[in-house]
Symmetry: D2
């Protein structure tokens, strides 16, 4: 068993069960490269500020470089008895460069070190997730363009409501993922502050230069209070909450894909490459990808609850409970990443069964509202018009006739305000075309929305880079 960093005052050695319960290197080793990066900046500052000698500083940097190579090459065997990734790396450093290695931990503590590592890592992950969200939005807008003229029934209560463009439906999801991107951006800004220098909880007596380290690590700001710095896990919760909302959006889309792929709907066909069959039923082709993503929503919700529970009622500052913050976070990131990636890959391969969509759009009296609006335009108060059309629909259901299949005479038995032009207004094309106010489903409106989206997707690349440089002001 390796020697503990903190063994001085201890008489007994650590219980084996405790060692297993307490170790974190089995999951925090994924932070190794970020830990090294942070240590490198710290060592450089220690040297520059004369806290350690320039020689020691250089020796540490060389040592860290060598260890980084080994980590990248997958050659490191992590030692569980050394508890965590930080102690493992420090031990490797000391083994490699001797006494100088023992000086790296000057003016810092594992408390501020881990807080720094996680933020460094999460910053990179959010960057990657923002790219993936953008790719998903691009796939959505491209799909909307590809099937621009397809009409399907818009649903409320999973009942046919009004005809809408399939492109409009897709652009609804584009809006959702745009908001997700905004939320991730907001979260990024709060992640992007450096806690290093808080030491154990009270700061350090060494003449450190936190701003210098922050610049080396690309942080636009440092945290303002050392006690808060080591006990704060807000951004992890905020990230998981944003991830939960994105998963929720994906789960809604997946639910629709699953319903649309039923033999009853047949609005879409999923590509073989994203489906599986049954071990017993030879005819089955299952929408697995959509089901798995929908299922993984629970996973991310659960992690959010874990973190909230973890922090509830925890006194300041660092408590060992906080070690439990990492696994939920890591799994949230991985789950969201893989779901975004596969969903984006799936979208362009959807087989959209346009004719079935259109046929369905014509069923279920989807243009009844148009008829009511027609009556209103003729001076009938809306509430009255609504009632008249309600009775026409009841008549239609009873006699098996769609609105456009009724004769003018039939229609006129319900209201004298109906004239010949009512017949055009109940077609789905007319219905869609008429909803031209901003945000509506009319082709020209949706076209504008698509063009705007492309513009935003261009702009986004710049603005996010800008956000990274922006200095925190509060």
């Amino acid at each position: 068993m390796a020697k503990k960093q903190w063994g001085g005052r201890f008489a007994g050695s650590t219980d084996a069960l405790m060692e297993r319960l307490g170790e974190s290197v089995s999951f925090d080793s994924r932070l190794a490269l970020w830990d090294i990066r942070a240590s490198r900046a710290h060592a450089r500052m220690l040297g520059v500020r004369g806290i350690i000698s320039p020689e020691d500083s250089r020796a540490i940097l060389r040592g860290l470089d060598a260890i980084e190579k080994e980590v990248k090459a997958g050659k490191v065997a992590w030692d569980v008895s050394l508890e965590d990734v930080h102690t493992n790396i420090e031990a490797m450093l000391i083994a490699r460069i001797g006494n100088a290695g023992k000086k790296l931990h000057t003016a810092r503590s594992r408390n501020d070190q881990i807080a720094t590592d996680v933020r460094l890592w999460l910053r990179d992950q959010i960057d990657d997730l923002l790219r993936k969200l953008r790719a998903l939005r691009q796939a959505l807008v491209a799909l909307a363009e590809q099937y621009f003229h397809v009409i399907l029934p818009g649903f409320t209560h999973l009942q046919h409501a009004q005809p809408v463009l399939f492109a409009h439906h897709l652009m609804a999801y584009h809006e959702m993922f745009s908001r997700d991107q905004e939320r991730m951006d907001s979260c990024f800004a709060r992640v992007n502050r450096m806690p290093l220098g808080a030491a154990a909880l009270a700061g350090t007596p060494y003449p450190i230069d936190r701003n210098y380290v922050a610049r080396l690590l690309g942080y636009p700001a440092v945290t303002e209070n050392s006690i808060d710095s080591v006990s704060d896990r807000d951004t992890l919760i905020e990230f998981c909450s944003a991830a939960a909302i994105t998963m929720m959006h994906l789960s809604r889309f997946c639910e629709e894909l699953i319903i649309w792929a039923t033999p009853e709907f047949q609005f879409i066909e999923l590509p073989d490459a994203f489906c599986t069959g049954s071990s017993i039923m030879p005819q089955k082709k299952n929408p697995d990808v959509a089901e798995l993503i929908r299922g993984k929503t629970g996973r991310v919700y659960g992690h959010l609850v874990s973190l909230l529970t973890l922090l509830k009622g925890l006194p300041l500052s660092y408590n060992r409970d906080l070690q439990e913050d990492k696994e939920p976070l890591f799994d949230c990131v991985e789950t969201l990443r893989s779901c975004l990636r596969i969903f984006t890959a799936l979208l362009p391969k959807l087989n959209v069964l346009q004719q079935n969509m259109t046929k369905a759009a014509e069923q279920g009296y989807t243009t009844a509202t148009d008829l009511a609006d027609y009556l209103t335009a003729k001076g009938v108060p809306f509430r009255t018009a609504h009632e008249i059309v309600g009775r026409i629909v009841a008549y239609g259901i009873k006699h098996g006739k769609a609105l456009h299949e009724m004769t003018l005479e039939e229609l006129q038995t319900f209201s004298k305000a109906i004239t010949a032009d009512a017949r055009t207004c109940v077609t789905i094309e007319h219905s869609v075309r008429s909803r031209a106010a901003r945000g509506g489903t009319a082709p020209q409106t949706v076209k504008k929305a698509i063009n705007n989206a492309w513009k935003q997707l261009q702009k986004k690349k710049k603005s996010h880079a800008a956000a990274k440089q922006s200095v925190r002001s509060r």
Copy 2:
């Protein structure tokens, strides 16, 4: 039983159980004033755009004014058989002004109406909560100034770690609530978009002017997609998530107050006015306020889970499930508001038992790190220094001696690097004073943090007002 808005095509009447399960006016009547406000803007626009006649528009506005007065006077008896607040108000309007009232619902649906009402209401609530967060931060900074020179033991693992200023500890909470304010601000920006005009889900064929309505209602932006507009509940989840984090912060503070108020700690005494006694034990004075707030954390966490569950896997667009979004949101707002308010009222009345804090700060070898740093400054590698001091502490515990009670000779048996000046470096005042890097607990550093906080608290008032006007750009 009142007539339903949508009765036209229905043969049977609504089941009594269904009516009770489905009604929402028992809780959404709190939106009445915001509903009227939205209706007023809508009616004005309908008139301006010639969708209804100027006379009808004016009649509606007069009717709404009268109803608003009745609502404010608490004179309205809400009719459960009319389902919701919107239908109740519309029915009152029709009863009052006749046919013109039936025209108010032209070019809108309850789907976009409720989405608009909730955003209007929530915007006002967030505004109020931001004020309450600011008041709490002010109370914290004032308290930090009041007890500026008090030292208490900083804790990690609820063990004495290093001495810190009580003011520094308080400013850690100031940081947390500052972040909460940032998050609420972010959320506000996303709430502040107007969905009205989405109608049922597809937009409307009437020549409405959404931007005009938005201006009337003070919305800097309108939503971009009608389907999304009626099915989106993101901001509610985001709000509840932000509220959950704030409650978590409060729960941590409350946990500390409860521990500090024990006879064993006696760091503080809570004012009688915020405590209760026992029905059976005459000596009891219980920290009820802190316990209740800590307990209410669960409530807000639970509401967040409710909303996430609600939305999971819900197909577009509006589904009746969404009616369940309001009670959790309402209760989150009320809970957060009352907790912030009472906590802010409590803070200035805390009786801080300074001497007990200081005495505790001297116990538990809180300056052991300073001694290790002292050794490091003398050239001992940090890891070695850590071990030496560990052994000194073990010796101290065994012989019942604090660090400052040991003689120079005793200390030197552990390391020859220790000289006379070591004695000063182990006082708590020296320890605190030495941690002067940014974010640390040294008095001059904390003073700067306090001054910064006051500046931010001034600035905040302006910047938030600015946020309200800012146009959405994405």
Copy 3:
């Protein structure tokens, strides 16, 4: 403002905000009748054991009777400044009978009193919910009998899998609700223990007789440890967890009803009395009842999370946080009760569109497994048979032919093992009939399951009554 029960040692009076935050009578007044019932048993015991005089005991009983009548008549105006239902009732008692009333609280505390009240109340609620679960099961079995011969496609992955009896599908839900009943029964047994006598936390020096009180209140057992008695809320969590599972079952059924009621599926029609329409779309008939129940699932999940969060990390014994246990519990009970009730009322009124179900069952190659099994019976290894039929299905999809529409020659091009009898084996009737092993969908098997269910539903009535008397043995 009324005088507090515990005012003796307090100098200041309670802050108005605190009073509002801390009061519980606005929600715990619903426990009034149970509180009186518990007080009555306590008073009787106090008299019998000579702890108070027989006259005082009788005076208290008379006083409680009078108050009970007022509560039942809805005449009581609860005083918020008296905090909770217990203190309100005690104050009324003292007002009514004077000094004797002050003796009721001898040998008890609000801590054991509230624990007792909640268990008494919850016991009655579970009893009622068990009746409602039984009624739902009866409705299910009756529906299964009514539509016994209807075949629909059994789904996996929401794709047609194999034909099953609609009755079999319904009986799957019967199984779920049977387990729910088991869980509620288990929970009932743990609720059914009396904590009264624990007093504040340590027991009482008075010579009370807890068993006597337990007998009066119908509790088969008393709790074994006074500290645990006042701090335990396990059964509330267990109840909410059981309620959450039942709501989950209902949500699955509701999801199916919603999908089945789409124009694409048309497997069922929901009765007008359980649907609503749209304020704007005259043709709409929405499956509101199913959506509302599905939505309310989130509510119950959220309450469970609230309670779990509440109790996490709470030191023994009673803490004021525990006051927050009641609202989630109350709402869980009410939500579950109303959902069970309305769902049970809905079931017999479902219009099952049998022909559509049967037609669907014939689509989607639902009998492909039967053909594979047929081949296996002819000696083809199952894995090979599965592959052959997979190719036949691919051929069918390509040429638009169902299995029963293919000629023998066509089938034989895929396997020589296929002979004329294969044509019968691919009918849905044959498929259903063949699955006759226990638990399968064959009519004779399902008939047996239905008969068993009726028997269980009879037996249940007895066994639950028995459970109530059973003495706790652990």
Copy 4:
């Protein structure tokens, strides 16, 4: 890439991303031994019923034996492209014994197979957890005996309430873990039903004998409905809920240990072997084990939420979402197991600082209730007595005198009913001794509780074995 079990009808091959998202063998391989066990019973039955030849049956059994050995030896390299543990094992079997191996899957599906495997595995885990719960209870009772005469202050609101035996406090936890055991037992009974034979969802046309397989696998009962059998995950949720409650109990105990180990309380000292130090503060000895367990509570809560979310609104029967059921369950089991184990190991090594406990019990007017009860016994109504003592306590706090330090004269200024014997009644020993009613803290009562516990712990071993054999009756 390996060939899929279900490839027949598929034209394209599986996308690489999909393969990674969909595979489960990376976590479900832990079910391998239970999968083999279930397959063995299935194969034997197939042979006995003549569904496959006796030779094939024997070949399969031999093959499974060989694979089992390899699994146990850790020699198996799981193939991710084969999706799950079931397909991996089947592929190994076919590779080993050829065509006979292809017959194993006759009359079953992965849907009923996985449901069976998980129940088999969970049954063994619950068995193990029940043993661990019993061991924990034993450790508690032993500790209660060891420190039988130690008095500490009983707390409510974390304020001193009344003196109690430390043994009584420990026995409160014994009660909690006893209930946990009951709940696990209840859950076990519902896990202990065999779903095998449900096949894909509808049952199977083969003349299988489910009862025979159940007997071979030690299941006292089989599930009653095939559709329910493949879509039910109730017991997993129920298990996680029971686990969450147990973790909550542990979190409460851990919270107390953490508070008790502070320098302010010093009620206990934790053994070095279960603590860690600080990388920077040489004096630190942190109660890590208690913090880690408290932290892991969030983990289990989160998993429960994951599962509930997963199942919400899922239509029948099997959906691929259900694959997400395993990781939360596995981690719940492992977390609970390791927490129970280490906590049980920790208990006997606690250093209980008896004198500090006793000294604290004498502080904070813990016997004020006794004085009130004394007055009541002298005929003062309880409410009045409570007020008098409240004033005495206020006087004591003001003058820094404990109750037993006041002279008779001082006491009598508050009430003439006080005589010399009042001085004895305010000692903590008298207070504890007097609470002798069942469940109270008097030594003789606690002794009885301890003896009862030992008896239960004996009995338990038998009754649980019995439960395993008990046939399901509902």
